[in-house]
């Protein structure tokens, strides 16, 4: 059996492969370095930061900066740390994600399975919504919130995020529902099910992949939002991103880089957790078809 084909690996191949890995590791290091610096800095005390280099390890694990960032640091005139704003953010994000996802699912369901005269135009108009820059809607939205009497409230901010997010969520759900055979809905209609029954009993149960995608997308978008937060939130409804900005810009005496870094990590933590826990479902959901057979 001397004619069994062997994979030919020349020295050149090996060298190229090693070079590739070195490149990849290098890139990974470049992207991870800022986070590493943040983490290291947050664990040092101010003295150590001044004397050491960016990448030097802390001499001892010191969580003082973290507890200060969480509950003691000053954000403007108040000194309650990030904690209240962290919960503010959740109060904005959870309803905004839930409502925009649900509306997106309903819109997608209608556009792909209950076509009406002009539904294609409706969808095209929604798509335009994906490309409208944040800045453009700031002033009109401020007026609208004023009229509705929900300026500077959490409700108002939730509404802004829902309105802005629905274009994206609809797009996600429409593309997914497009792959659900129309016969499925026809069969259910003949069986006597109505619009909402079909949605609830037939469509939603197969939508898990796209719900995961949409929730992750909306969660990170809304959590990371700064502009809407700064523009439309009230004094005590500010989201965590705005609080972080205030915290970093408020200084009595020396700059506490360790507290700044800890606060920044706290602000980023929920999105990090979401990505680590559900990131693989994100990719899977984006590429999933709805129904086989």
């Amino acid at each position: 059996m001397s004619n069994v084909a062997k994979r030919q690996t020349s020295t050149l191949d090996k060298v190229l492969r090693i070079a590739l890995y070195v490149c990849l590791l290098g890139m990974a290091a470049v992207y991870l370095a800022p986070f590493l610096v943040m983490l290291l800095t947050s664990l040092k005390d101010v003295e150590e930061i001044r004397s050491g280099t960016l990448l030097s390890l802390p001499s001892s694990l010191n969580f003082d900066a973290w507890s200060k960032a969480w509950s003691g640091a000053c954000t403007g005139s108040q000194c309650e740390g990030m904690a209240p704003y962290f919960f503010n953010s959740f109060q904005i994000v959870i309803p905004a994600v839930a409502i925009s996802t649900l509306l997106g699912a309903l819109n997608g369901y209608v556009i792909s399975h209950w076509k009406f005269k002009g539904s294609d135009v409706f969808f095209a108009a929604l798509l335009v919504g994906c490309f409208i820059p944040f800045q453009v809607i700031l002033l009109p939205m401020a007026r609208t919130l004023g009229w509705l009497g929900i300026a500077n409230t959490t409700t108002g901010l939730v509404m802004v995020h829902v309105v802005y997010g629905v274009a994206f969520t609809t797009l996600f759900f429409r593309n997914f529902y497009q792959s659900i055979p129309v016969e499925l809905v026809k069969a259910a209609r003949l069986d006597g099910a109505g619009f909402f029954t079909i949605f609830y009993r037939i469509i939603l149960p197969v939508s898990t992949p796209i719900i995961v995608v949409t929730v992750i997308w909306q969660f990170t978008q809304i959590w990371n939002d700064f502009l809407f937060g700064v523009a439309f939130s009230g004094f005590d409804t500010q989201p965590v991103t705005v609080a972080l900005n205030n915290l970093v810009n408020t200084s009595f005496g020396g700059k506490e880089y360790n507290v700044d870094m800890a606060a920044a990590i706290i602000a980023a933590l929920p999105t990090l957790v979401v990505y680590i826990l559900a990131g693989k479902y994100f990719v899977r959901g984006l590429t999933a078809g709805a129904v086989k057979g």
């Binding site: 499925l184 069986d191 099910a193 086989k292 057979g293």
Partner: protein, 369 residues
């Protein structure tokens, strides 16, 4: 059980007319088959009957009720789709009972009904599975079960067997036939399969370009097609269309074919040929009417034996198809496999024109009706 009347139904998508005035009427309990080339509007018509598409004009009656504007759920129709369209998130049992649940049938009755249907279709052992865990044939059964459970007035089947392999298709065909005999419910059934159409139907509607070309019993369609399209569509291999010249002979009319040598054959309705004397028409003759010489038919009224030039032979087991060419038309003859026809040689064939039909060469319409 209910009769179905489709009265001048038209369907337009924008400017294009997909159904151009369909008229079909069948009795309660009849099995109607729709056949026709792809894109001729069969599914559109089925969807219109079911109420899944609005018609642009015309009326649809189920029994004596005008249901033209009724919603699908009020028409009491069940449909089986080509893709089966089973609800992927539900078990087989849930799939079957969903329609009953929607109609507020109590739970015990639903369970009894699922059991009855499962037994009828022999899918009792599958009830707890999801559709993704079933084979094609099993899915097909479940789809039928879902339709059966509600005991509707009418069933619509849109190519229900076309995704199955040949053997399973034959089995299911027989089962559907048995089922229809047992239930006696009105069925409308779309198929591309000739044999399915012939074996299942009480009536066949042959469609083309959104129009019904002919509506009749399978035998009528087979023996008495109204035009070239219907004649060519039903039957496999298709009816032969042999160019023939109308000649006058002893005060009557007959047809002259260019077999190996010019041959005169008689025609059952000679007088209908009168207007075409001297002109060429198309003689429609099924392959089984051109055979090897059979002694018991010798000398009968419409039987003529003539030599043909064999082009190709195609053994099919029970018969051998012998291909020849008469003028430019390919002609199939159905022979006994033992008959020694060989490509490139001439051999005698017996033409039986007792069931022959004649078509106008230009417009394809029957001329002997």
């Amino acid at each position: 059980m209910a009769s179905l009347t489709i009265d001048n139904v038209k369907k337009r998508y924008g400017q294009t007319e997909i159904l151009k005035g369909i008229n079909i009427s069948i009795e309660a309990g009849e099995f109607l088959i729709l056949v026709g080339p792809s894109g001729c509007g069969k599914s559109t018509l089925m969807n219109s009957i079911a109420g899944l598409e609005d018609v642009s004009e015309g009326r649809i009656l189920i029994g004596d009720n005008d249901v033209t504007y009724a919603s699908p759920k009020d028409r009491d129709i069940a449909m089986v789709f080509q893709s089966y369209a089973l609800y992927p998130n539900m078990t087989v049992a849930e799939n079957i009972s969903f329609g009953l649940e929607m109609r507020k049938v109590p739970k015990e009755e639903r369970e009894a009904e699922v059991e009855r249907v499962a037994e009828m279709l022999q899918i009792g052992h599958l009830l707890k599975r999801k559709p993704a865990q079933l084979s094609g044939g099993q899915r097909q059964r479940v789809a039928m079960g879902r339709a059966l459970a509600r005991r509707p007035k009418m069933y619509l089947f849109d190519e229900p067997l076309s995704n199955l392999d040949a053997k399973l298709r034959v089995e299911m065909r027989t089962e559907i036939k048995k089922l229809h005999q047992k239930l006696g419910t009105t069925i409308v059934y779309v198929t591309h399969d000739q044999i399915e159409a012939m074996t299942l139907a009480d009536r066949i509607a042959v469609m083309k370009d959104g129009e019904v070309q002919q509506l009749g019993t399978p035998q009528e369609i087979y023996d008495n097609p109204t035009n070239l399209f219907v004649a060519g569509f039903m039957g496999s291999p298709a009816m032969n269309f042999i160019p023939a010249k109308v000649v006058e002979q002893n005060g009557s009319y007959a047809l002259e074919l260019q077999a190996a040598t010019p041959t005169i054959v008689p025609f059952p309705k000679p007088d209908s040929l009168k207007a075409h004397v001297g002109k060429e028409i198309l003689l429609g003759l099924r392959p089984e009417m051109i055979t090897e010489p059979q002694p018991h038919k010798e000398g009968k009224e419409f039987v003529v034996t003539a030599d043909i030039d064999v082009e190709v032979t195609e053994p099919m087991g029970a018969d051998t198809m012998v291909l020849t060419r008469i003028q430019s038309a390919e002609v199939n003859c159905r022979c006994n496999p033992a008959y020694p026809a060989r490509a490139g040689e001439a051999i005698a064939m017996m033409f039986d024109t007792s069931k022959a039909v004649a078509f106008d060469k230009d417009n394809g319409q029957r001329i002997d009706n």
